[in-house]
Structures are given as C-alpha cells and as structure tokens.
Symmetry: C2
C-alpha cells in the first residue's frame, strides 16, 4: 500500500470494506472503463445507459442511470481528484470538469482504495465522504450499503466472466 | 511547461496574468509557506493573522484575514487538489480537508500556473473558477482583479526583500 487510507469520521462517512477474489488491477480496470461500468455499476434491475470517463485529475466521470422500466432517473457528472492505477481512485460530486464547483443535493466525495492480498484477490474499500451528518444519513437511507455491496458482487461476477 | 493551462470560460472564470521579475520557484515557495503568506497574501491594510498549510493533494489551506482595524473578517479553509512544485497549485473552497464537501457562499476553485521565462522571471497566471455567472460577478464586484493584482505586487516585493 503506497497511500494513507482515508481516516473515517463515523458521523460523516459511509464505508464498505470487502475482501474480493479478483486483483486490484482488474477492479481498477473495471472502475475506469466506460463499457465495463455499464455492465456492473448499477444494482440490477437498474441500469447504466451512458458512461463517459476522462481519466485524469480534473477529468469528468459521467453516468446516466435508468430505473427498471428504462426511464432515466439520474444523470450525474463528477470530477476525478486522484487517479493512481490499481490502488486508488477519488472523485467528488462537489466539482465538475476542470475542478469547477457545482451544487447538488447531498454532495459527496467517493474514495476507492484497493490493496492486493498476495493471493490473487484484494481488499476493496469504498468510502463516501459527506459534509454533514444529515447528508450521510440521507445517503445511508438511500441504500448506500446495500447498493454498493450489490455492485461489488456484480463487479466480481463481471471480471470473472471476461 | 509540463501542464495544460486551464481553459478559461469567460462567463464563469476570472483570470489575471502577469509577467513578474521573480522566478517560478520563488513564487511557489511564497505561496506555500505560512510565514510567507502572512507577509503578502492580504492586500494591505488588510492582514493575515493565521495561516495553516498541509501541502498535499487533500491537505488543507486555512487563512484568517483581518480588516484594517484588526478585526477578523474571514476564516476560510480550502483543500489542495494539485501540488506541482514551481509550476502549479490548485485548491478549492468547495472541499475541506481530505476532500470533504463543504458549503459556503460563492465557492470557487483557484488555479495558479507558473512558467519561467528563461531570464529570471516568470509568467504568473491565476484563475478563479466559479459554478455560475452570478458567482463570477460577485467575485469580480468584491474586487478580484484589484485584490489579486495588489497581492502580486506585494508578493514580488516580499520575495525581493528576503
């Protein structure tokens, strides 16, 4: 591990940690390829109809999510802050492309940290970082743990199917 | 120059560009040392009573500015996004330490770009990046150009006095 793990504030952050049987490299690749994202990023039966990635600090990460009937329910663009291949990916909804501030309901920064375990798998850690307890609560009630947990399963399945 | 200059959006960004007779290295040093910041960062007779710097992407940049009577008028903490010695410094008021979103009036991202001119001086470019035209207008009316222009003069004077 060549990074300092994000220090969690339990009142403001939501965290999910899982040991997964796929490599950090495969997970990082799946998280940064638009065609891949479409396969696993939305908990089924939700789906991703569009994904655009400009993979650099200051670049944008855009996804459109559709509901089970296919109707668009979310079109969000965030900004990458840290891109460290196979280790760490950080992006925030508080900024748009080229670090431009943007407002939105429940802004959060997402931190993905990957650490190979030496036997082909890795520890997968994702943290959602909020500005206040109300935002963290709202995100939890929207199903952060269930949703992000489900997509880890879908992600692993996607990597194994490739 | 090893970076791509920020592409200005004239409706959303405020920009100041100046050729200064001091090196990019000296300017970068002055921008990233708390004791130095106190000497030049506020347009006199305003002053800086406190400056704290954690110089890393995700680290915080805090300043307290006092009015000419010495009363505290601003206590702001922003987050560094890019720290490229002697070339580029990017920070945003839309995030606090460790990339945590924070709300505030008129959020902006500041981009400082430095390019040595080969004869001891450098081109100093600063851009304030806003979310909407209203924020850009507000920042302009608060005196962005006069204020940032004045502190460039103070910065050069500070470097020459050292």
């Amino acid at each position: 591990m060549n990074f300092t793990p994000h220090p969690v504030n339990p009142e403001l952050d939501l965290e999910i940690v899982r040991d997964v049987p796929v490599s950090a490299q495969a997970v990082f690749q799946a998280w940064t390829d638009p065609d891949s994202i479409k396969q696993w990023f939305a908990p089924r039966p939700y789906s991703i109809s569009l994904c655009e990635i400009d993979l650099r600090p200051g670049g944008s990460f855009r996804t459109i999510m559709n509901d089970p009937e296919g109707a668009q329910m979310m079109d969000g663009t965030s900004c990458y802050l840290v891109v460290t291949p196979n280790e760490r990916l950080v992006w925030t909804t508080a900024l748009g492309p080229d670090y431009r501030p943007q407002t939105g309901d429940m802004p959060f920064t997402a931190i993905l940290e990957l650490t190979d375990n030496g036997s082909g798998g890795c520890t997968y850690r994702a943290v959602a970082v909020h500005q206040d307890p109300a935002s963290a609560k709202q995100h939890a009630e929207m199903g952060f743990h269930e949703g992000w947990g489900t997509v880890i399963d879908q992600l692993v399945e996607h990597i194994r199917d490739e």
